[in-house]
């Protein structure tokens, strides 16, 4: 049974429908990416799961029960974390405070401390900068912080929206390395990415969305090998 | 040509007759309505409320003695909330919608000045009892008369007392509105006449509540006495803050605040030795005006306090109006105006005889709050007791 499953989900902003009948599955332990051109509805998929936009139909099931109509804090409490795109951190709060906010629902101080140690073990840089204001860090560090904050509730699954957006190639590598590291420690990851090539490299499986509909699906290597996918989404397949 | 002139004469005659009959527009049940907007709430509520008392008292009394020219008098009192714009609207309403037969005056110089434009336009006369600023009567108005002493004389006694105790420097402050400005102007003139140096003059906005810096400024200017052209709230704030800051003057005089019965009540000990001005005091044995004793007794019986000058002035002006209507023999606006302009009568408030501008030359009193009581201390001929000046310092009270 998949950990997260979307069956024929339709959604939109107000009366404008963005997702049409989208279906996808994420199994426990996998890294699954969702790729596609701009406006394909990739980020919208996350937003409908979190309940931020108008849900029009279909089924969203996490760990055997529906997420439809659930409040964001309940979704997080059930073990599904979401890291929005754009390196969103609380800029006027320290790194430590940001991480504490990630564990807002946890009242057990010992568990919060353990979660923080865990995050610091994956992102040692955050430990060095614990007292620094988040807004004063580099873009890459802010992205790491946002991911680390998503880990604070020790979720079973994390939804990462465009983690490499606007980062230098070196930092893009680092972000993907950290994503793999998180997955190796048992986290299920669903990834939305513009940088399709890198995403497919680290993913077990992937979905291609186009204009809010399912277009292709398959394993990372399968899609990387698909000539149509290569020309349309991988910049002509120059690099593999 | 001739025909035209005849036509015109007829039209004029109709208009005049029409106006005449409109002026005698009594209600079916033989009532005359006397209307006014008086501050029953707001910063002027204290003094104006006491005028309302006198109005109610007079209405009952005049009806008991047969009304005005045989008509029962009904008072229609609205509340202008101490606001000029509201007062203007209410007087427009009273005249045009309610079609009252006679007007009652509003309270405060500022509001009276504004309302004077309204009643002038509709040619309805009244005797002002809550306005003491002479500029109101310097605009060739024909339908407004005055009964009280003018603002310029409010601080006359205080400045004379300052001279008596050897004060050489005073500061004159006041709220930035018509009446306090006039009172300040008068105080300055009296100081000049008596050779006292005015070291500081300042007006503050009507909403001012913090006088800390101003009090320091007055001390810095070297004033020995403080002449404050103030109402209740500002005078109270000044005295409280003088005490808080331990700022001492040999003499402090306020135009309106100390004359209100609850001033010493609310301020307690802090109000002691303060000088104030009174148009009139309920002292029949000293002032000796006709009917005073009876009026004071009736007022006290009904309202459980002695009338203050605001009450006295309103009552006096109503007696003047009553006499003028009797003299005019009609409620006609023009005839009433004529009667008010020529009448010479002494009421409970003193003599009423106006000059060409419509102003009465009323003589006021200066009192001091001593042991919680207002005691007349100036002029000498009316003094109940000798002024206790200079004021003792706060630290010695």
């Amino acid at each position: 049974m998949p950990l997260l499953e979307l069956r024929g989900v339709s959604a939109g902003y107000g009366s404008i429908q963005i997702l049409h009948d989208v279906s996808l599955q994420v199994n426990a332990g996998e890294i699954v990416s969702v790729i596609g051109p701009n406006g394909a509805g990739k980020s919208t998929t996350f937003k409908v799961i979190m309940g931020f936009i108008t849900y029009l139909g279909g089924e969203i099931v996490f760990d055997g029960s529906s997420l439809v109509g659930e409040r964001p804090d309940r979704i997080l409490a059930r073990g599904l974390a979401y890291v929005p795109q754009g390196r969103v951190v609380f800029s006027q709060m320290t790194v430590r405070e940001n991480l504490e906010m990630g564990a807002y629902l946890e009242r057990d101080r010992a568990k919060i401390a353990a979660a923080m140690d865990y995050v610091f073990s994956i992102f040692p840089r955050l430990a060095e900068r614990a007292r620094q204001l988040a807004g004063s860090m580099s873009g890459g560090e802010q992205q790491m912080l946002a991911m680390g904050r998503g880990l604070m509730m020790r979720p079973r699954m994390m939804m990462l929206d465009e983690p490499s957006l606007g980062l230098s190639p070196r930092l893009v590598d680092e972000v993907f390395d950290k994503t793999v590291a998180m997955a190796q420690s048992g986290l299920t990851v669903m990834l939305v990415e513009q940088n399709a090539a890198r995403a497919l490299e680290v993913s077990q499986r992937a979905y291609v969305l186009e204009l809010g509909r399912n277009r292709y699906e398959g394993t990372g290597p399968e899609l990387l090998a698909n000539p149509e996918v290569r020309t349309m989404y991988l910049g002509g397949g120059v690099r593999v | 040509m001739r025909a035209h002139r005849a036509c015109l004469a007829i039209i004029v005659a109709i208009l005049v007759l029409g106006a005449g009959s409109a002026a005698a527009k009594h209600r079916p049940n033989n009532e005359v309505v006397m209307g006014g907007a008086i501050s029953q709430t707001g910063q002027y509520a204290e003094p104006a409320g006491r005028q309302v008392n006198s109005i109610k008292l007079w209405v009952d009394e005049v009806n008991a003695r047969g009304g005005l020219l045989g008509h029962k008098v009904v008072a229609r009192l609205l509340d202008d909330k101490s606001d000029t714009q509201t007062a203007i609207k209410l007087y427009e309403k009273l005249i045009t919608e309610d079609k009252v037969d006679l007007l009652l005056a509003p309270y405060s110089s500022g509001i009276t000045e504004a309302v004077a434009n309204v009643n002038e336009r509709y040619k309805m006369p009244f005797v002002a009892y809550g306005a003491a600023s002479s500029p109101i009567w310097e605009k060739n108005r024909k339908y407004i008369f005055n009964i009280v002493a003018v603002a310029e004389d409010y601080q006359k006694g205080a400045v004379h007392l300052a001279k008596q105790i050897g004060v050489k420097t005073i500061a004159i402050i006041g709220q930035d509105s018509l009446f306090p400005r006039q009172a300040g102007k008068g105080a300055k003139e009296w100081a000049k006449k008596l050779g006292i140096n005015v070291v500081l003059e300042e007006n503050y906005p009507p909403k001012q509540t913090d006088f800390t810096a101003l009090l320091q400024k007055i001390k810095a200017a070297g004033a020995e006495g403080l002449i404050s052209n103030s109402y209740f709230a500002d005078a109270a704030a000044q005295l409280r803050q003088m005490r808080e800051l331990n700022v001492n003057f040999k003499l402090y005089s306020s135009t309106v605040g100390p004359g209100l019965p609850n001033f010493p009540e609310q301020l307690g000990n802090t109000a002691e030795y303060v000088l104030g001005f009174s148009q009139w005091e309920p002292l029949p044995q000293i002032l000796k005006h006709p009917g005073m004793k009876e009026y004071i007794e009736a007022y006290e019986k009904r309202f459980n306090e002695k009338p203050n000058y605001h009450a006295g002035g309103a009552y006096g002006s109503l007696l003047v109006t009553e006499a003028a209507i009797k003299k005019a023999g009609s409620f006609d606006n023009e005839k009433l105006r004529e009667a008010l302009a020529t009448l010479d009568i002494t009421t409970t408030f003193g003599r009423y005889k106006v000059d060409a501008k419509g102003m009465n030359s009323h003589e006021g009193l200066t009192f001091q709050i001593l042991r919680g009581q207002r005691k007349v201390v100036w002029p000498d001929k009316f003094a109940e007791t000798k002024a206790e000046l200079p004021m003792p310092e706060w630290s010695k009270r």
Binding site: F90, Y104 | E46, Y204, T212, A213, Q216, A220
Partner: protein, 328 residues
């Protein structure tokens, strides 16, 4: 700090030096400034009184900046809430015989609940709407509050005689005990709110919501509840401010307007959402007002002019305010 930021700070410093010297220069022109010891005593008294007043102003500003920071709602009814606090205290004092400061024990919880109700009934509808919508709604609320207060209490000035004794702070500086008490209360309450926001779990969640409501939601913070708590605290702060006003000055239903404007000026001066900035802004504004009043002839009338002049120039030079940072 960026270069342009540093430059605007220098420019602001230069402007403030001018603004504070101006009353002295005008005073020297008119001879109201003297160089003797006695005059310095008056100056010291006025500056000290300004500092005390500034602490109370700062508390108004903290309440205003809190609601704005979290919900982007400009609360034009803040002064009316101060006025409501003054009346609550007055009623407690005159009708129930409760000490004005002790009254806070029950007026603050009442105020908090009123704030929660206000948020549920009115403000939730305008969160996320354009700022003008919220401004108009709170402006209307303020007018309604004035009208209701006039109906209940009339427009008469009220005051509570409380601790009027003189305290001799130094040999030359004397001040009313009520002013000293008000300052201590205002600063302690503001500090308590500051510490709460800085260190408590809920306080941090309020700050997080102010910084980014969507991410706060993602963190599991119930943003709707944060809005309720925020408005509750802001109204409680205003009511506490009202209690302090009532023991120092006369007040009537229209008094609030003055306090709203002062709070605006301080928030702009100190920087939106900045609490230390609010304290500094409050002190600066009150001291400047007193200096103008002390030294400029007929300066009492010029005080408001000085306050708004200060506000406008600070806005022009440094839109983020004294301690403000550029918004992300």
């Amino acid at each position: 700090m960026e270069k342009s930021d540093v430059r605007s700070l220098y420019l602001l410093a230069a402007f403030l030096v001018c603004a504070y010297s101006l009353p002295f220069l005008i005073g020297i022109q008119f001879g109201t400034v003297r160089a003797d010891e006695q005059w310095f005593a008056y100056l010291a008294t006025v500056v000290f009184a300004g500092i005390l007043q500034g602490g109370v102003y700062a508390m108004f500003a903290v309440g205003l900046t809190l609601i704005f920071g979290v919900m982007r709602i400009i609360n034009a009814a803040h002064g009316e809430m101060v006025m409501m606090g003054a009346y609550l205290t007055w009623v407690a004092f005159f009708y129930l015989g409760v000490d004005p400061l002790l009254a806070l024990v029950f007026t603050l919880p009442i105020a908090f609940l009123l704030g929660v109700a206000l948020q549920k009934v009115l403000l939730n509808a305008v969160v996320g709407q354009p700022e003008l919508t919220a401004l108009l709604v709170t402006f209307g609320l303020g007018l309604t509050m004035i009208y209701v207060a006039e109906l209940i209490f009339t427009t008469d000035f009220r005051t509570i005689p409380y601790a009027p004794q003189t305290v001799q702070v130094t040999r030359t500086i004397a001040v009313g005990q009520n002013k000293l008490i008000s300052f201590v209360m205002a600063v302690s309450i503001s500090a308590a709110v500051y510490l709460f926001l800085k260190f408590s779990r809920l306080g941090k969640a309020i700050r997080a919501t102010a910084l980014n409501a969507e991410v706060a939601m993602v963190c599991g913070i119930n943003v709707q509840r944060i809005y309720l708590v925020t408005t509750g605290i802001a109204v409680a702060l205003a009511v506490a401010g009202g209690a302090l006003v009532s023991i120092q000055f006369g007040f009537n239903p229209e008094t609030g307007v003055v306090y709203t404007l002062q709070a605006f000026a301080i928030v702009i001066l100190g920087g939106r959402g900045h609490y230390v900035g609010a304290l500094i802004g409050g002190l600066m504004l009150a001291v400047l007002e007193n200096l103008v009043s002390l030294m400029i002839p007929n300066g009492t009338a010029a005080v408001e002019l000085a306050a708004y002049g200060l506000m406008i120039f600070v806005l022009l030079i440094r839109p983020g305010g004294l301690m403000g940072v550029k918004e992300a």
